[in-house]
Amino acid sequence: MEENAYNFLIVGLPDAGKTSFIYAVDDLLQSPPTTDALGSYGLAPDRSYLERDKEKYRAGKKFEHTERNLQGAAPELLFEHAGTGRRGRLFLPDVDGEVFQDQWIDRKWTESYRDSLKNINGVLVFVRSDTPSSNQELLGAMVALPPNDRKGTTFDPKKASPQVQLVDVLQFIATKGEIMRPQKVAVLISAWDTVEKPQNRQPKNPAAFLAREWPLLDQYLRSNSEIFTTKIYGVSALGGTEEELKDLSKLPPQDRVKIVEDGVQSKDLTRPLRWLLALD
């Protein structure tokens, strides 16, 4: 059987759902929900990162965000695809979101990160569905509030609009990284369970959601099709909010997850990986 190594780049600001997704995919590979889904043909020699907070993930509990100093070796998953007979080693480096934020703030990146971009086989971009993509402007009625003596703080780039930060991080990759073109980019909108709540009026189609809620990112990706080929997914790797997970935790993690793409809903979180690997 063919057996290659595939390196994916995972991009997202802090708390965008990157780690939950990696944990969920790792568990799903052991119990593929469909015959099309990727399965596992074994365990990688070093699973220290994958096991670090797995107990909390499986119990539906909140876990700490990725610490940049504890990252170590990239999480490695051994996958096989029944349909094509392909097998491989998938490397999903869970880069701390603050690393990307630092690139935006400091306007520099490490040479090792830059060099790693030469070998990537796909990009997973994470955005959250339940946080605003832009800062709130003082407009309309908000301007008419009674004045007070409060003075504004000096510009804090860390608090700049998230979609602006993320677009600039992608621009760094596009302009300074020697990536293969066009590079496949799967956009994963995390916490998708919150979008599907009946009282939520946001678009239920992930592509329409991105266009409405993360417009700058959406425009940037669409208008740079020579550089990026994009697919958009809605993902719930945990299955619900912290409160909802108290009840949902009676189910095994692979039954709580959900992914939506073009109106198709399933539990196969490996769909974006299959697309990046050209297995669809």
Partner: protein, 340 residues
């Protein structure tokens, strides 16, 4: 006492991190630890571990600040790039206008153009900061454009969402309000506005609030015309330039008190612009808009989008740009054609 180990950082004095990372900056050390420059001294081996830890080699990326002319050449050389010069008195609303375009792209396409990139996103966010809730202000304000950026550009790349549409780079030169009257007074100051010579569009922004105030009205209107007169005289603009008169702060202009008088004054200025300059430039456009109204109304986004569409969609420079005498053949579409 905490201080920064970078020699030129003033964190210890004023709490401002050179790298903008605040208290979380890894360069902060307890007082007594040596600075980066001290490491090369003879007792370097005794420097505390926190200072001696080497950082992984890194590479600088573009700054996000306005582009210098040399940096802008990357865009003017690669494709059709449109240059817009924004000029006007202090606080006339030039920066608010261009910052508004950035905000509009954050909500969706503008004038049928998709956002395709920008090298100056950091600066756009900086400009908008004091108009956001996150900054902590109650009333929005706008960072004033600095003289240091008189010959530099804010940048957008846009693209129409149709097949085979090419990306278009827009370079916006925001001339500071301090320089504006000096350029009228002194020809040599005006000639130092290098980007004007390359401008496809010159947008004169006249403060609507000033027009609404009899003490300022006549001076501001006269200065707007004088500036155009000056740059026509120096040859910095001409038949290849599209001229825009933009009356800003529409909310202030049309305040109930004296609304008709103010409207009349604005109309007169528009009419004078047309009659005085229409035969000396490619075309004259007049606009009235509010980029950041303070009366509780919303910005005139459709007018701003329309203006943006005219900027991006029209240029008299292509084809058939007049070449500057000293330009070499391989400088096609570059600033050096215009002696810049």
């Amino acid at each position: 006492m905490v201080r920064c180990k970078l020699a030129n950082c003033t964190f210890a004095k004023d709490g401002r991190c050179l790298e903008g990372r605040g208290n979380a900056c890894p360069n902060l050390v307890a007082d007594g630890a040596q600075s980066v420059h001290d490491i090369s001294s003879s007792d370097a081996l005794e420097v505390s571990a926190s200072v001696a830890t080497p950082y992984p080699p890194s590479e600088s990326l573009y700054s996000g600040l306005p582009l210098e002319i040399a940096e802008a050449r990357e865009f003017s050389g690669r494709s059709r790039a449109i240059v817009v010069a924004l000029a006007g008195m202090k606080e006339s609303g030039k920066t608010s206008l261009i910052a508004r375009v950035h905000q509009q792209f954050q909500a969706g396409p503008v004038a049928g153009y998709d956002f395709a990139g920008s090298r100056t996103l950091w600066q756009f966010e900086n400009l908008n900061w004091l108009a956001t809730v996150e900054s902590g202000v109650v009333s929005p304000t706008m960072e004033r454009s600095s003289r240091q950026y008189d010959n530099s550009f804010l940048h957008f790349t846009v693209r129409q969402p149709v097949s085979r549409a090419e990306p278009i780079d827009l370079l916006v030169n925001d001339i500071s309000g301090e320089t504006f009257p000096e350029a009228i007074t002194t020809e040599s100051v005006c000639q130092q506005l290098l980007c004007l010579r390359r401008a496809d569009h010159l947008a004169l922004v006249v403060d609507g609030a000033a027009i609404a105030d009899r003490s300022f009205r006549h001076d501001h209107c006269a200065k707007a015309k004088n500036f155009v007169q000056r740059v026509l005289q120096t040859g910095q603009i001409g038949k290849q330039t599209v001229l825009h008169l933009i009356i800003s702060k529409l909310d202030e202009l049309l305040k109930k008190e004296h609304a008709s008088e103010n409207d009349e004054a604005a109309t007169r200025l528009e009419s004078e612009f047309n009659s005085q300059f229409k035969n000396r430039v490619a075309k004259v456009y007049t606009w009235r808009l509010a980029a950041r109204p303070l009366d509780g109304s919303m910005p005139t986004e459709s007018t701003i989008a329309e203006l943006f569409g005219v900027w991006v969609g029209s240029t008299l420079r292509y084809p058939g740009i007049l070449r500057y005498d000293s330009a070499s053949a391989d400088c096609a579409r570059d600033f050096c054609r215009f002696g810049v």
